[in-house]
Symmetry: C2
Subunit: 146 residues, 2 copies
DNA sequence: AATTATTGTTGACAATTGTAAACTTAAATA
DNA sequence: TATTTAAGTTTACAATTGTCAACAATAATT
């Protein structure tokens, strides 16, 4: 049962994971030190969060002398995709495009990513519908809306 | 104090809001009826959620005879933008582009939205950096990463 | 070996969230 | 008018989350 599921991570847990992903594994003391440069969480708090991440199977540990080294069980990008996709699944279908437009205009994007996006858009363009319908009401009803 | 802030809505509350947004205001009985076509929540549960949305100032009410009509205090699109932007603020900067690429390839997008996206991308393209750096570790450290 | 420092484990507590029953009030109908 | 019914209000309770302190175990130092 209980599969590994990035969407079960709390915001505080996400902050720890980012450190561990970037360091490609870290001991609690490393995490504590780095984390405390961003947030004034006590050692205790950070230890609790690490423990919870282990119990959620987002981290595994292996002992290195007296300490544990924590390793992520999934990749940061996969976790990001899962989390963002999950959020989008619960938003009005009709307005998702606008939300992405909003993101695109405020985010810093690399040339490479921009090119990939353009390729996708060009391909989608020809078969794109004139309008995407709203799915905020139960299907049976599904009237015009918005 | 306590400003209206869409990011404080829980997932269950979001589901109710979508109905109310789409109906442009609704009574509790309407919400209950529509909601129960999607989720087997009891009347009681839905009433609790409505009450919490009012206390979070996401809804206002005005009396209409014996019942209340609930109205959203912010627009669905604004709430979506706030919520999604908030999530993105806590994700690795370097990988946000990839996440959007992932979204773009799986979402249904209207011709119009695609065109707007293309315009934004074309504008950004020329000044885009070759690479966006990772911000998962506290600034002082900020080494290569990833 | 005794003491100190480091790391890990337990237990806690308040706030939020999902979930709902019970109770109250006011309107509609018998 | 007495009774039923539809709304709205109060209370509740378990699980999750943010936050820690206290305690235990183990390694490092004196």
């Amino acid at each position: 049962m209980s599969e590994i599921n990035a969407t079960k991570m709390s915001p505080a847990e996400w902050e720890l994971m980012r450190i561990i992903w970037t360091k490609k594994g870290a001991s609690s003391s490393e995490v504590i030190e780095l984390m405390q440069e961003k947030r004034s969480w006590t050692e205790s708090t950070i230890k609790t969060l690490l423990r919870r991440l282990v119990s959620k199977k987002m981290l595994t540990t292996h002992k290195d002398g007296r300490k544990f080294i924590y390793h992520p069980t999934i990749k940061e990008k996969d976790a990001m995709n899962e989390t963002v996709s999950e959020l989008f699944e619960h938003l009005c279908n009709m307005k998702k495009g606008q939300v992405i437009i909003n993101l695109l205009s405020k985010l810093e994007l690399s040339k490479n990513d921009i090119q990939k996006m353009q390729e996708i858009l060009v391909k989608k363009e020809q078969f794109a519908p004139k309008m995407v319908s709203c799915d905020c009401l139960p299907k049976e009803i599904k009237d015009g809306c918005c």
